[in-house]
């Protein structure tokens, strides 16, 4: 029972990071029908901005580990990644807006490689130790052990997901985003500045990836330029599991993948932990391609 609860807790903490990344995939797909494979690498850049900013702050004012500093680091990382997301869209995807979809997809893969290997060139390929932004405490609740880090990860992730939910369903921008997602041409005929909406979507998605990057660095303090590959793929699977293009679906998908991985990792089959996400991907694509929450849309001929 204790082990069960412990695994559940571990799974939710890991899953909420997947969920934050998955939101970026699902939003971009919802609007452009494009799988932005460079998204996992934006997450990596977010972590590295946190690494350099955190180290600088720790040097600038002795101590360094305070919630205010952590918030500052996160804000900076969000700004940099938001700008990067905008740049990605402006430079790589917008010129291909009217090209066949496969062209954007290949560009996305190219962009992903550029960030990964460019990262190795700039940051160096060796693993770096993410600075301690907040003091860590171990919390023991009846044998189930957690740290304040896991709780922070969970809290921050939930807060940002709620914020996103509000943006998408409670603001004018959100309504415009949904309109563009529903029908691109019609939305543009109705006077919606589609380019601006798409840019905003990229910025929001990348900002969430930055949050995930900081939370990841906080809980798993070893970062390297290829760290975005696996979480990126798992988050993509999460988005597909929840129904790609569906915002609550991405959250549920991320949490589910995290929990399933925790249980597989804790079983005799810990060998297959990384494989399980892809088994799920295959099963979903075979039996329910629209995902758990997606609506099935027959294609009109």
């Amino acid at each position: 029972m204790q082990e069960l609860l412990q695994n559940l807790l571990n799974g939710i903490a890991a899953g909420s990071i997947y969920a934050l990344i998955a939101l970026g995939y699902t939003m971009v797909y919802g609007i452009l029908k494009l799988i932005n494979f460079a998204h996992g690498d934006v997450f990596m850049i977010g972590s590295f901005v946190g690494f350099y900013a955190g180290r600088y702050l720790a040097k600038a004012n002795a101590g360094g580990a305070s919630p205010a500093n952590a918030a500052l680091v996160m804000l900076l990382s969000m700004i940099v990644c938001g700008a990067l997301g905008y740049l990605n869209e402006r430079v790589a995807y917008r010129p291909l807006r009217n090209a066949p979809r496969i062209a954007s997809l290949i560009t996305a893969i190219g962009l992903s490689f550029l960030l990964e290997y460019g990262g190795q060139f700039v940051f160096g390929p060796d693993p770096k130790f993410f600075p301690t932004l907040i003091e860590k405490h171990v919390i023991n609740i009846g044998g189930v052990v957690t740290t304040n880090y896991q709780l922070i990860v969970l809290g921050v992730a939930i807060a940002f997901m709620a914020l996103l939910q509000y943006i998408v369903y409670g603001t004018k921008y959100g309504r415009a985003m949904r309109a563009v997602s529903f029908n691109f041409e019609t939305a543009s005929l109705m006077g919606i500045p589609t380019d601006r909406i798409i840019s905003t979507t990229f910025i929001i998605g990348s900002t969430l990836a930055a949050v995930a990057g900081i939370l990841f660095g906080l809980s798993y303090p070893k970062i390297d330029p290829l760290m975005g590959v696996m979480p990126g793929l798992k988050a993509f699977v999460s988005a597909v599991l929840g129904g790609i293009g569906n915002v609550p679906g991405a959250v549920v998908g991320g949490l589910l993948i995290g929990i399933i991985e925790a249980f597989v990792g804790g079983s005799r089959f810990s060998n297959y932990r990384d494989a399980i996400a892809f088994v799920i991907l295959i099963v979903i694509l075979l039996f329910r391609p629209s995902g758990l929450f997606g609506k099935y849309q027959p294609e009109k001929v």
């Binding site: 204790q2 082990e3 412990q6 695994n7 571990n10 799974g11 890991a14 060796d126 693993p127 130790f129 860590k136 171990v138 023991n140 052990v145 740290t147 880090y149 990841f216 798993y220 303090p221 070893k222 290829l226 760290m227 696996m230 991985e261 925790a262 249980f263 597989v264 990792g265 804790g266 079983s267 810990s270 060998n271 932990r273 990384d274």
Partner: protein, 409 residues
């Protein structure tokens, strides 16, 4: 400008005479009397590429040893000259480098490599040319199985795993161990298997076996399963860059037992990542730079003086390799392949930095000393030395006094 022209002209002449550009980097001592009485020894190593740090410290230590031997009059009144080839950490380049060293430079022996895959590529070439090759630190068993001209200086993983099991069971008194394996690495799975078999053979219990993949960041679920099994110690024969994270998450889950591992832990990055979580954890290694043993102290001092860095285990093994070769040349009295091979194979009781070296019939060292290095007070300290099974029981020879602390950066 004029000088460049002259250099070019000289090179052109050299080319015309030699037929090929003299690209081999020749370091060593007096290059004044080139050829002549010098004994040419080839070295191939990963001076650039992914394993560059391994190749660099190996190269540094070889040069240190050779210069020392030459300063002491050389071997049988002949100086040794080392020709070094960079294999860029690639197996195919290793094969090219060794072919060049043997067929163009006519070296009498070849030293290298660290990575087993590179040694495996070069070994058949040395074997078919009857040129002895000594690998300082390739642990894959098949390296020396390539033929009777191939030797090595380090102990193998079976020996390392078994010695650790004996040390834990007999000296520390550990009875229940959980094993956490990096299933992406042959090194880790091999070491784990040798350890588990030996530990169970002694009467200990392996209460849990879990695995992860190199580069993972979340180990909590495996560790939760291990926690339920409640072991005295967790054996994690992985590489240093995962160990730090594993230690942190072990402590996060409220588990206080020590972690133990093998020589893959060795790196200045180990403590940087693991920090306080690694306190009290230990691993087996080939040598420890803070060892009070005079041979070790002498070597560490000389290496520090010349390179202003603390030599790692690879450097220590390379230093022994070069000295064993020189010793064999002395005993053989000549440098032709078969005679040299015979002499290297007969190495017995050689007092090396990494312990006493006795080469066995399978051309691997037998009964080397294993050092147990512990993280204590944020630095590495010597915990114990494990002697081979036949000899005296494993004891903390230096007592518990943590004499040597290494600079960890």
């Amino acid at each position: 400008m004029k000088r460049n022209y002259l250099v070019a002209l000289t090179c052109a002449f050299a080319l015309a005479f030699l037929g090929c550009p003299p690209k081999t980097e020749s370091t060593g001592t007096s290059t004044a009397d080139a050829g002549g009485g010098e004994i040419l020894v080839g070295e191939y190593g990963s001076l650039t590429g992914s394993e560059a740090t391994f190749g660099q410290s190996t190269h540094n230590a070889i040069m240190l040893a050779v210069d020392e031997i030459n300063a002491g009059g050389g071997v049988n009144n002949r100086k040794i000259r080392v020709l070094t080839e960079d294999d860029q950490s690639k197996a195919e380049e290793a094969a090219n480098a060794v072919t060049k060293l043997i067929s163009q430079n006519n070296v009498v022996a070849v030293l290298g490599e660290v990575a087993s895959s590179n040694s495996l590529a070069a070994a058949p070439i040395c074997q078919s040319n009857k040129v002895p090759m000594i690998s300082p630190s390739s642990t894959n068993p098949s390296v020396t199985q390539k033929g009777d001209y191939i030797f090595r200086m380090c102990f193998l993983d079976d020996y390392q795993g078994q010695s650790m099991a004996r040390y834990l069971y007999n000296t520390v008194g550990t009875r229940k161990v959980a094993v956490l394996i990096d299933n992406k690495s042959d090194y880790s799975t091999g070491l784990a298997k040798f350890f588990s078999d030996a530990f169970a053979g002694l009467g200990g219990k392996i209460v849990a076996t879990q695995s992860y993949a190199k580069g993972d960041s979340d180990f909590r679920s495996q560790l939760t399963a291990i926690k339920t099994a409640n072991p005295d110690l967790i054996y994690v024969p992985g590489y240093y860059n995962d160990i730090g994270q594993i230690a942190i998450q072990t402590r996060d889950l409220g588990m206080n037992m020590p972690l133990a591992g093998g020589d893959g832990w060795e790196s200045p990055k180990l403590i940087e990542i693991g920090g306080k979580a690694l306190e009290g954890c230990f691993y087996s290694n080939h040598y420890f730079p803070g060892d009070p043993n005079p041979t070790v102290r002498d070597f560490v001092e000389k290496y520090r003086q010349r390179y202003s860095a603390t030599p790692d285990a690879l450097a220590a093994l390379a230093y022994d390799t070069a000295r064993v070769l020189a010793d064999a040349m002395k005993r053989a009295g000549k440098t032709d392949g078969p005679a040299l091979r015979e002499a290297i194979g007969a190495t017995k009781g050689f007092n090396g930095v990494t312990g006493t070296i006795n080469l066995g019939p399978d051309r691997n060292p037998e009964g080397k000393t294993l050092v147990i290095v512990e993280v204590k007070g944020g630095a590495l300290t010597l915990k114990a030395k494990v002697e081979p099974a036949g000899a005296a029981p494993a004891t903390g020879t230096t007592g518990t006094t943590t004499t040597g602390t290494t600079t960890t950066h």
